[in-house]
């Protein structure tokens, strides 16, 4: 049997948060929330794990820094030492102040681009990829909670409907879960 999913729609982020708190306290597992903007504080309520994007960014930064050092060590010190402003490039350490800006630039470049690309790839939201929000209105003024029946085996569909209806929803719909991507 295909997985069924209930979509509960709200018209305000605070109302959705209160609803989510109530449902979670009753043991309902909320799979995901779709909203036009990030809702502060929703992650711990619905149990989304803390992102590891920061670690990725740090590692990309280290990679950029290493590449920069290898690059200018080879270009400017080993391969063709140049005399700029009376400072011949014979040693990396003694000339390091002039290389600090490029070290910084490479670190930031790699950290920022690496983080952005990782984010887009991991979320499968590169330009041109199909959108996976169930209702287009979640990009405008609707806040939607996704509750999969397979995640909530201890409740029947009717019980879930009753529970969700006690929160301030504006619309509720149950349908087959379609994997977009």
């Amino acid at each position: 049997m295909a997985d069924r999913v209930i979509y509960a729609m709200y018209d305000d982020d605070e109302v959705l948060m209160d609803g989510a708190k109530k449902l979670v306290s009753e043991g309902v597992h909320i799979t995901d929330v779709f909203s036009p903007f990030p809702i502060h504080g929703i992650d711990p309520i619905i149990g989304v794990k803390h992102t590891r994007l920061g670690i990725v960014s740090f590692m990309f930064g280290l990679l950029g820094m290493t590449l920069a050092v290898i690059g200018f060590k080879y270009f400017m010190i080993d391969d063709w030492p140049m005399n700029i402003g009376g400072k011949p490039n014979f040693s990396l350490l003694e000339n390091y102040p002039s290389f600090v800006p490029i070290t910084f630039e490479f670190t930031v470049l790699f950290a920022a681009h690496g983080m952005a690309l990782t984010y887009l790839l991991r979320n499968k939201t590169l330009p041109g990829m199909p959108a996976d929000n169930p209702y287009p209105r979640t990009t405008d003024d609707r806040f939607v909670m996704e509750i999969r029946l397979s995640d909530n085996t201890k409740f029947s569909a009717d019980e879930l409907h009753t529970k969700i209806k006690t929160t301030d929803i504006v619309e509720i719909e149950e349908k087959d879960y379609v994997v977009v991507k």
């Binding site: 502060h40 504080g41 920061g54 740090f58 402003g85 009376g86 400072k87 102040p97 002039s98 600090v100 800006p101």
Partner: protein, 412 residues
């Protein structure tokens, strides 16, 4: 009010002051025979007098910034910021007394006379011999800097700075206490206007005062970035102090409304301002290093030749320690890590102010011994006592601030 300085805290503070004074006296006895003794004594008073005054000033600036930007989250720690800023009153008094001594001794000259030349000034330019064409010590570069580097102008602007700082501090504090009783938004908008005005004044004064008070110990040298550099250091140290006081109060069970998110936000300030300071340090250093013009590079030459360890050490401490230890967000919420980092970089920033003053006044003769450590401890004890004393005078959380509720529910 709700917060009282505990007997144990009092004992610790007076103990620190006592040990500091004792160490200072040992240092004085040790060094009183040397030629540089008086210069060293007054350099130290200038370093500690300025360092702690600058912390209070940084807090006052931060307070004005919060008013001018109508920031909500920081309301819960507003009394801590006010407490740290309250040291401007005593700090200004100490600095003014010191400047008076310098004025009446032609720039702090108690030193020796070698072939009729005065040696051992703090403010060399205050000595009239340097701008007297007929004198054998005539210094054209210093003479050309009149009227900026002259006693009367120094005093006019110094009194102006101090009046503005004290007046604004008193105004902010008065309205803050008044708001507790009255509520409403009238005082809030008044603080908003005054905060914005203070930022404009402080923008000029923080630069020009650091030229007069600190940069002029090397009167031949100048840097346009100097004021910003000093300002970056004072703001960073102020946030570090605010963090330490907040953590202390929380550990004692006060400031219940301050949650992890507030601590995280102060931690972000400490982290970001450490970068601001390091960035300004390096910007100033790299341009002079690259150009390598003798009259400019002399400043760094003096410091790197004679104080290599302190100069690079304090840069590494103030840059690397907060960068590595405070990078992750869980570290910015961990009281233990925060305390450690804050204590380390407060010492690092003291070493920074030491590096601003000592090589200029003492040349190659400066060193850190009992005198420096003792005086630092004595000043630190006095500083902490005065902050805590201010904290006892009012409720630790503002009662009727318009953004109080927002701050209570601060969540990031």
């Amino acid at each position: 009010m709700e917060f009282q300085i505990s007997a144990r805290a009092k004992k610790t503070i007076f103990g620190v002051i006592g040990v500091g004074v004792l160490a200072f006296i040992i240092g004085v006895v040790q060094n009183s025979g040397t030629d540089q003794f008086m210069t060293r004594l007054f350099s130290n008073l200038l370093i500690d007098g300025f360092f702690f005054f600058a912390i209070a000033l940084g807090a006052l600036f931060f307070l004005a910034l919060q008013y001018a930007t109508e920031t909500g989250w920081s309301v819960a720690i507003k009394r801590v910021v006010e407490g740290v800023a309250s040291y401007v009153l005593v700090g200004a008094g100490i600095l003014l007394a010191l400047f008076l001594i310098f004025t009446f001794t032609d720039g702090g000259w108690f030193g020796t006379e070698v072939h009729g030349h005065h040696i051992g000034h703090i403010y060399e330019w205050m000595d009239p011999a340097l701008s007297d064409v007929d004198n054998m010590n005539y210094d054209k570069l210093v003479a050309n800097k009149a009227p900026f580097l002259t006693k009367w102008f120094f005093w006019i602007v110094t009194i102006l700075y101090m009046t503005v700082y004290i007046w604004f501090y008193k105004g902010f504090r008065k309205r803050s206490l008044q708001e507790d009783n009255e509520g409403g938004t009238k005082l809030h908008y008044k603080n908003f206007a005054k905060g914005a005005l203070f930022l404009v004044l402080f923008g000029y004064f923080s630069s020009t005062s650091s030229w007069h008070w600190l940069m002029s110990v090397d009167p031949h040298w100048f840097s346009t970035l100097y004021g910003w550099y000093v300002f970056g250091g004072m703001w960073c140290t102020a946030m570090v102090t605010i963090m330490l006081v907040t953590l202390y109060l929380k550990r004692k069970g006060h400031l219940q409304v301050v949650n992890d998110s507030h601590i995280h936000d102060i931690g972000k300030w400490v982290f970001a301002l450490s970068f601001l300071w390091s960035y300004l340090f390096f910007s100033q250093f790299m341009l002079y290093w690259y150009a390598d013009i003798p009259e400019e590079v002399i400043y760094f030459h003096e410091r790197i030749e004679n104080y290599k360890f302190i100069f690079w050490g304090m840069f590494m401490i103030n840059f690397i320690v907060p960068m590595l230890l405070l990078m992750s967000d869980s570290a910015k919420r961990n009281a233990g890590i925060l305390m450690t980092v804050c204590v380390i970089i407060i010492i690092g920033h003291w070493a920074d102010v030491y590096m601003l003053v000592t090589p200029g006044t003492m040349g190659e003769h400066g060193s850190i011994g009992f005198m420096e450590i003792g005086l630092f401890m004595a000043f630190a004890g006095l500083f902490v006592y005065l902050i805590m004393n201010t904290l006892t005078k009012a409720p630790l959380v503002p009662q009727n601030h318009p953004y109080l509720d927002e701050s209570k529910h601060h969540h990031i």
